[in-house]
């Protein structure tokens, strides 16, 4: 279970998160939406301890990670898998070495078992036979799929997705959405995605949190979010900008 209490984060004079509260039960598929630059990716990085908050607490299965040092966090991060916006594949390693990176480092899995698991996840993401390719040889969509394979190969309990469909064509984006849903169904993981792609949000989650002005503004099902008459939610969902010169959403 993930519990976030009064989380605050500023960069210089800019306050990005201003008291974020929410909790996510085990096995839930949640999407966090909000405008670009609104702090969604920062929130995701805070959840996995990549950056430290100015104030507030984050509990992962009852453990407060905001008070942990980097080495203690490494153990907690073993529960997480993360798909980065840019995929963040290690460009000096092959697809196979990228995917089995953690298993190889831990040294507890036999080479045959590693090869089997890499083959299994690459098949899941539709990239069987690409083990020996280098990341530079792959397209943007393929890189994201490899990133997804790397995030789930060691069976984490929680998977974080940072803008999983950004920069992809609609068909590639749809295939990533299908993969995320398949991962949730197959591995029964807690899934937290950050996106401003409303189509994707509706497809990959059963609960949507809207981040607005540094706080959780709405916590509803996708159906309720799409039907909402609230002006802030309505404008965001339907992509309606403020008239130029008026106050923006941010």
């Amino acid at each position: 279970m993930i519990e976030v209490r009064q989380l605050r984060k500023s960069f210089g004079d800019v306050r990005v998160l201003n008291g974020v509260d929410f909790s996510i039960e085990k096995g839930q598929a949640v999407t966090i939406i909000g405008v670009s630059g609104g702090g969604k990716s920062i929130l995701l990085k805070l959840l996995i301890g990549l950056i430290t908050p100015d104030a507030g607490e984050i509990f992962i299965d009852g453990q407060n990670i905001t008070r942990m040092d980097e080495r203690e966090l490494l153990k907690v991060r073993r529960k997480f898998g993360m798909l980065f916006q840019s995929a963040a594949l290690f460009d000096s390693l092959t697809v196979e070495d990228n995917v089995n990176f953690l298993l190889r480092r831990e040294g507890r899995t036999t080479p045959a078992e590693m090869a089997r698991r890499v083959g299994e996840v690459l098949e899941l993401v539709g990239l069987e036979g690409t083990q020996k390719k280098m990341p530079a040889e792959l397209s943007g969509g393929m890189r994201k799929r490899v990133g997804l394979a790397r995030a789930v190969v060691y069976r984490p309990e929680i998977v974080l997705y940072d803008e999983p469909t950004t920069g992809l064509d609609p068909i590639a984006a749809d295939s990533i959405d299908q993969l995320i849903s398949r991962v949730v169904d197959k591995f029964k993981v807690t899934s937290i995605a950050v996106t401003h792609d409303m189509r994707s949000a509706g497809r990959i989650s059963r609960r949507i949190l809207m981040l607005h002005e540094g706080r959780i503004y709405a916590d509803q099902s996708p159906e309720d979010i799409f039907k909402s008459n609230d002006p802030v939610i309505h404008r965001f969902v339907n992509g309606i900008a403020d008239p130029i010169g008026k106050t923006s959403l941010v």
Binding site: K45, L50, E70, L73, L74, R77, F80, L102, R105, R150
Partner: protein, 257 residues
């Protein structure tokens, strides 16, 4: 002006503090985490084998020019036979370690800062951390170990080649009596001269590894950030080597007499 000075002082002390924390993390990693020797060996190959051309040329031509210049001066006072002794002491305790340090800082320090810096700006270091790997264990320690193990070997090679090349120049170009020059060299070169050089080069290796990894890990976003980190890694490593060399010379000459 005052605010600029304050900002510079804050940046300088901030950098010093972060560098010290990196040294602490390296020490903790060395004590608690078993290094991946495959990575260390690869880095030794990258630092040692790939630097051969640079080290050979630097060592040989420095020895040759030092020999020629010493001969031109000593010839006036009929002391030609002491030429190789000067070359050997200078190469062993000063020029060998310092020039190898500067060349390795330029070639390897720049590469380390660029590799780690690129990983930082492309989120690969964040990806490492999400995969439960500490960047210091995975990226810094193998380079650190490889550097402190390889630098003494490279320096020894540079000193040997420098003296060898100087011997050839002295014998075949300058016409110095070979037996006399060799005898004087062996007589005036102390084991401690070489030991001082080896201690220095070990410390220079440590400086290059820490400064270059630090610059890569703290690199700013974008191509400009990586470029700046690379330049600063070379400049700061080189300056630190030159300054440290003076203090080490004074300290080691007092300590090892």
């Amino acid at each position: 002006m005052t605010s600029l000075a304050k900002q510079l002082a804050r940046d300088w002390f901030g950098g010093l503090g972060r560098g010290t924390l990196l040294c602490r993390d390296i020490a903790v990693s060395l004590m608690k985490v078993k290094p991946v020797w495959r990575d260390v060996v690869y880095q030794m190959y990258f630092i040692g084998v790939k630097s051969q051309m640079v080290v050979i040329i630097t060592g040989m031509f420095t020895g040759m020019v030092l020999c020629a210049q010493t001969y031109f001066q000593f010839h006036r006072v009929k002391m030609e036979s002491a030429t190789l002794a000067v070359v050997s002491v200078a190469m062993g305790s000063e020029l060998g370690p310092v020039l190898t340090g500067l060349m390795v800082a330029g070639r390897v320090g720049a590469a380390i800062a660029a590799q780690i810096g690129t990983m930082k700006v492309t989120e690969q270091i964040d990806a490492l951390r999400t995969l439960a790997a500490h960047p210091v264990d995975y990226l810094v320690v193998p380079r650190f170990l490889a550097m402190v193990l390889t630098m003494p070997l490279l320096t020894a090679e540079s000193i040997a080649l420098g003296i060898g090349a100087a011997y050839l120049v002295a014998s075949f170009l300058l016409g110095i009596n070979q037996a006399d020059a060799w005898h004087q060299m062996v007589r005036h070169t102390d084991d401690l001269d070489i030991l001082r050089g080896m201690i220095k080069t070990f410390i220079f290796g440590l400086i290059i590894a820490v400064v270059s990894c630090y610059k890569g890990l703290t690199c700013n976003q974008g191509a400009v950030g990586v470029g700046l980190a690379t330049t600063e890694a070379v400049v700061y490593s080189s300056i630190t080597i030159l300054i440290t060399n003076f203090f080490l010379t004074m300290f080691l000459n007092t300590l090892l007499q």
